[in-house]
């Protein structure tokens, strides 16, 4: 795809002596679903967190729809730059492995709060939007529930609803199902699949290869802080060109693939 909607250019991130990302460039087209795979510690989370400048890189540029989200190295951000960044973040939904739902707010309030605080929507509009988003993820009957009463799958769907209510143009997801009990993975993947069907632009870190196969337009394989190989799922997974991807798939298929077959039913 030629259209570059999200552009990560030359992203280098260092943590002390560790170079977590070594000049990584990656573009995502509008409506495209890209799955990031790779061994633990290879820099997937760091790359995702560079995309919304949550972990600002040491070098590199991030652009969304042509406008700069972040550019490094850069001196202290000005107030205007911080406002612009927060504006971008409001349109970039992020879903975390650990859900990070807000435990002091009910499900409905979780979805309402940022709409009111960040987008300055009034209460009735925010609540209408929140009800719709909660319905979209199948949580209509949990509006008034406290997060601690929800299962892991429900918490993650709540977190997704919270970002959907912001009318995101892009979703970043960092292993959205990795913290879930196996029997709860399917309900979350089903929600993600629906998002893919409505052409939501998504960058998803996942170990669920079966899921990636079904929804991804492109799979990107990372290792040791760089992109090793990328391509359409079928092609990439059935014909890995590099030994490193081959080795990774061999190791993963032992653990993940059987589990994924079950999910393929939904």
């Amino acid at each position: 795809m030629a259209d570059k909607y999200l552009e990560l250019i030359g992203i280098t991130t260092r943590f002390g002596d560790v170079e977590a990302l070594q000049g990584v460039s990656l573009s995502v087209a509008r409506g495209e679903v890209v799955c990031l795979i790779g061994p633990s510690g290879c820099g997937k989370s760091t790359l995702l967190r560079a995309a919304n400048w949550l972990t600002p890189p040491n070098e590199g540029t991030v652009r969304l729809d042509g406008s700069v989200v972040g550019h490094a190295p850069q001196g202290r951000a000005t107030a205007a730059q911080i406002r612009a960044l927060n504006g971008h973040r409001a349109r970039i939904g992020m879903v975390f492995q650990q859900f990070n739902v807000w435990p002091h707010l009910t499900a409905l309030e979780n979805v309402v709060r940022a709409q009111m605080v960040v987008l300055r929507r009034d209460k009735s509009e925010a609540e209408a939007k929140a009800r719709q988003a909660l319905a979209d993820v199948g949580l209509s009957d949990k509006m008034d529930a406290w997060p601690e009463r929800l299962s892991g799958g429900q918490k993650q769907r709540l977190a997704i609803a919270r970002t959907l209510a912001m009318d995101p143009v892009l979703m970043l997801m960092d292993e959205p199902t990795s913290a879930l009990d196996p029997e709860l993975v399917a309900e979350v993947l089903a929600v993600l699949q629906r998002l893919a069907e409505i052409q939501m632009t998504m960058l998803i870190v996942t170990h669920e290869l079966g899921f990636a196969m079904r929804v991804a337009d492109r799979i990107v394989f990372m290792e040791a802080g760089g992109i090793v190989e990328q391509g359409p799922p079928q092609e990439l997974l059935s014909n890995p060109r590099t030994d490193r991807l081959k080795a990774f798939l061999d190791k993963l298929s032992l653990t993940t693939l059987p589990k994924d077959r079950e999910h393929a039913e939904i």
Binding site: L54, N86, R89, R91, F96, N100, H104, A114, V118, M166
Partner: protein
């Protein structure tokens, strides 16, 4: 030693005036010191070095020197710089500064106890750092902050007695005067001991009520 009840009757009203002054001073000191404590706690976490270091220096100085010395320094040194304030105002400022240093540490502890993912998810959705603090982090810190905060308020109330040394007409000062005039220390001091105790109980009970109100979630169905 027998109790001379007439002292209570004759001097009670004066003691109550002192009590009223103590209440005014303490309420003012807490209303200044608490918000300033929040500012200090946030400054302490700031990425701006000047800010975090100044906050740290302030907190360390006020926590590691005796309150009575702080009071003397402020009372006797400020006039040298042309700032001559009435003793009551110096007292309020000194108590507020002293209290804010302790409040700041309690608040910072509460903020740090909230998992980092909470702040991250708030920032990732577009909240500014201050919005994230106000809407996401601080409300969750309350349960952790309130009990030690109450303790700090109680010690602030007790420390206010020190202000008698700079002639603030608060309760301890009044009791000292009454004692000087009557030579009946027991009656004078038992009155104010009871009043300090009463004030602290009221504050402790009010804070516990706040704690229940702010930190207990309604049972499901009630929400």
């Amino acid at each position: 030693m027998t109790l001379d009840l007439t002292i209570f009757v004759d001097y009670g009203p004066r003691i109550l005036l002192g009590f009223w002054m103590t209440i005014k001073i303490v309420v003012l000191a807490i209303s200044l010191g608490l918000p300033f404590g929040v500012v200090l706690a946030l400054a302490r976490r700031s990425r701006l070095r000047v800010l975090s270091w100044s906050a740290l220096a302030f907190i360390e100085i006020f926590r590691n020197t005796p309150f009575i010395i702080q009071v003397f320094l402020i009372y006797y040194v400020l006039p040298f710089y042309g700032l001559r304030l009435p003793a009551e105002q110096v007292g309020v400022l000194a108590l507020a500064a002293f209290g804010s240093a302790y409040f700041a540490e309690v608040i910072r502890g509460g903020i740090d106890a909230v998992p980092s993912g909470q702040l991250e998810s708030a920032r990732a959705i577009g909240m500014s750092d201050l919005q994230a603090m106000r809407h996401i982090v601080l409300p969750q810190s309350l349960a952790i902050i309130l009990p030690p905060l109450t303790n700090q308020m109680l010690s602030l109330i007790k420390e206010s007695a020190i202000l008698s040394t700079i002639t603030v007409q608060e309760m301890t000062m009044t009791a000292l005067r009454v004692q000087g005039e009557t030579f009946r220390p027991f009656e004078a001091f038992i009155m104010i001991a009871l009043l300090y105790w009463l004030l602290n109980e009221v504050v402790a009970i009010a804070m516990r009520a706040l704690e229940r109100r702010w930190t207990t979630k309604p049972v499901e169905g009630e929400a």
